[in-house]
């Protein structure tokens, strides 16, 4: 079957991977809504990366047509300066997604490493880290952010994402820690220690892979939370005004333009709201699919 002496694992590798992707495909097909979710998420990513490029700068506008009602040309009408609302939403997705991504990265780096470390090391350090995690978990993040906004403007997605990540890693750390603890109980970690493998090796090679799916799903959930939090903060109007931003659009629609008072201003509110909902739905559907793909019950006997 294979050449003697050398075990050719690479020939097996792709087939295993292919099997995995077949499995993924099957899971997707089981509920078509998941395909929809993936497509939707793809669309948002496309919007965020290429949207601004496609529309170009300065954005074309119709200066004689403020708050135009929805039409073929402007599916969600125009805004107070005559900009196409859809274009604003598309361009605004960049900030939202970029922030969510950065939040997710910060969350993962902090949450996963603290969770792994605490769970793997245990002992006093674990206790201390978990107390910190508890505090992080219970601390009311949005009020803190609001207060923080008095001294910090979060003008860039980087800052916003960083802060949201710093406030939101607790849940992941908890989940990762409990996973780590239960994995630790399993023999293979102990075996690796007994074989003299180094701690970084054990953490990266042995612990991380089984936990990765949890991390991935938590990542998506934390992205949802990040999307909410940032849009919410801008919605409250305590953040700086950034041209194309969903939260700012919502804030304006409701508090400046009377979207809740007069139907003619409703499209300006509905567009970012719809985008927000669709993004949420997309992420939820993808998480649902991932849940099934990575479900340990299905991976092990």
């Amino acid at each position: 079957m294979t050449s003697p002496g050398m075990v050719d694992v690479t020939t097996k590798g792709p087939s295993m991977r292919r099997n995995f992707w077949r499995g993924v495909w099957r899971v997707m097909l089981r509920k078509p809504s998941r395909l929809f979710g993936v497509a939707l998420l793809g669309l948002f990513i496309f919007m965020a990366t290429l949207g601004p490029v496609l529309y170009g700068r300065p954005l074309p506008r119709d200066p004689d047509n403020f708050f135009a009602p929805p039409s073929l040309q402007h599916p969600f009408g125009t805004d107070f300066q005559g900009f196409d609302v859809l274009a604003l939403v598309v361009i605004g997705s960049r900030y939202v997604l970029l922030t969510a991504l950065i939040t997710a990265i910060v969350t993962i780096v902090l949450g996963a490493s603290i969770g792994l470390f605490a769970g793997y090391r245990r002992g006093r350090l674990d206790a201390v880290l978990m107390r910190i995690t508890d505090i992080n978990l219970t601390i009311p993040g949005i009020p803190i952010l609001l207060v923080l906004s008095t001294v910090w403007q979060f003008a860039s997605p980087w800052e916003m994402g960083l802060v949201l990540g710093l406030l939101g890693w607790g849940a992941l750390a908890r989940a990762v820690r409990s996973q780590t603890l239960s994995l630790r109980e399993r023999g293979f970690i102990e075996a690796a220690r007994g074989l003299g493998l180094s701690t970084p090796h054990i953490v990266v090679r042995e612990l991380l892979p089984p936990i990765a799916p949890y991390i991935a799903m938590n990542l998506l959930m934390s992205m949802i939370l990040a999307v909410w939090a940032q849009v919410g903060l801008f919605f409250l109007g305590v953040m700086p005004v950034i041209g194309e931003n969903w939260g700012v659009m919502l804030n304006r629609a409701v508090f400046d333009f009377g979207a809740m008072t007069t139907a003619s201003r409703l499209p300006y509110m509905l567009a970012p709201l719809l985008a927000l909902l669709l993004l949420t739905v997309a992420i939820v559907l993808v998480v649902d699919a991932m849940d099934e793909i990575f479900n340990p019950r299905l991976r092990e006997e």
Binding site: S15, N19, L298
Partner: protein, 365 residues
């Protein structure tokens, strides 16, 4: 209790597969029957079907289970069925350690049981429970006031037995009653089972994969393989002179406390699971040293002789010889395989090398 043609299937991605196939079995009143078999042979499934309690995605697809005074359990539904469970048939759980509600004291759970079965005199029920627990060497009052986590494994197992018996069930099914216990506790529990069985004149089915346990308590022994009964008979007869090659192999695979170590030999191959059980012919043929051509296609009938039932073509052919020459034959047969015992499993492994494209069973399930 008479079981006839019982078949239980589980719904899997590959369709409905039988975990218990066409089983006939009688449990004579007042006897303890031991049921042994490897993991996955369908023992628990069989036991659950006695209470018509096979859990989805499984279901009883054919057969009857007649119990004196109750009728066909398979046909029972609703409250009737519920009353039979616990009331007529006591069931001691495979993992009795976990068969108790962690948030309620044993006593409260006992009262719940009483209310479920419309026991009028709950006081008497509690007294009965205390008496039973005391009988098993426990302080009844204290145990009833305890939560599950405050009891040790052996104590919980005894509580499980108490629950099975407290309503005066006459048929008791014990699914691996001693698996997680250590030897001394196990001996203790087995003794209790034996004594109470005798005292109350029960009909008992003990399920285990440890032949020693059956040997200790049971009158009759039934051996299960791949969802089918391959051999039945009085314990001592079966152990003394096993006829089915599987039974022989199983017995020989037990290392012994005394005597020649080299008498023990591994059973080659590995136990089948739902999807690898052969659907026609003899279920055991893949691992059978006496395999013949006929085994491939024809299911061996259960042949009875001298109170024994055996389902094997090889034995059916030579019913007389089988009883005499057991030790010699099996010894000879397996000794030729001793050295390759390991290799056999490897071969089995090699056999089911999957072509890369076919998904493995786990992925299917």
């Amino acid at each position: 209790m008479r079981i006839r043609g019982l078949t239980v299937v589980y719904k899997t991605p590959a369709g409905e597969l039988p975990a218990v196939r066409d089983i006939d079995m009688d449990l004579a009143p007042g006897t303890i029957t031991g049921l042994v078999g490897e993991s996955g042979s369908g023992k628990s499934t069989l036991a659950l079907s006695l209470l018509n309690a096979v859990q989805p995605p499984g279901r009883i697809s054919a057969g009857q289970i007649e119990i004196d005074g109750i009728g066909d359990v398979v046909k029972l539904r609703g409250d009737k069925l519920r009353q039979v469970r616990g009331g007529q048939i006591g069931y001691v759980f495979q993992a009795a350690q976990n068969s108790l509600n962690p948030l309620k004291t044993i006593g409260k759970q006992l009262l719940d049981l009483g209310r479920s079965h419309d026991v009028d005199n709950l006081r008497a029920l509690v007294a009965e429970a205390k008496e039973l627990l005391g009988r098993m060497g426990l302080d009844g009052a204290r145990v009833l006031d305890s939560y599950q986590h405050e009891l040790s494994g052996g104590m919980r197992q005894r509580v499980g037995i108490m629950f099975a018996l407290v309503l005066n069930a006459h048929l008791v099914v014990l699914d691996e009653p001693t698996t997680a216990l250590d030897v001394i506790t196990q001996a203790n529990i087995l003794e209790i089972v034996r004594d109470i069985h005798a005292e109350r004149n029960l009909t008992t089915l003990v399920i285990t994969h440890d032949i020693g346990v059956v040997a200790e308590v049971a009158d009759r022994l039934a051996v299960m393989y791949g969802g089918q009964l391959v051999e039945q008979g009085p314990v001592r007869d079966v152990l003394g002179e096993p006829q089915h090659p599987y039974t022989r192999g199983l017995i020989q695979a037990i290392p012994r406390l005394t005597g020649d170590i080299s008498e023990a030999h591994a059973l080659p191959g590995r136990p089948p699971n739902l999807s690898t059980i052969p659907t026609e012919g003899c279920v055991f043929r893949e691992r059978c040293p006496l395999r013949m051509d006929i085994c491939e296609t024809v299911e061996p009938p259960l042949v009875s002789g001298s109170g024994r039932l055996v389902a094997c073509h090889a034995v059916a052919d030579t019913p007389a010889k089988g009883t005499k020459a057991t030790t010699g034959v099996s010894g000879g047969l397996t000794s030729s395989r001793v050295r390759s015992g390991i290799g056999e499993e490897r071969a089995a492994g090699g056999d089911d090398v999957n072509p890369p494209e076919t998904p493995t069973e786990e992925e299917q399930s």
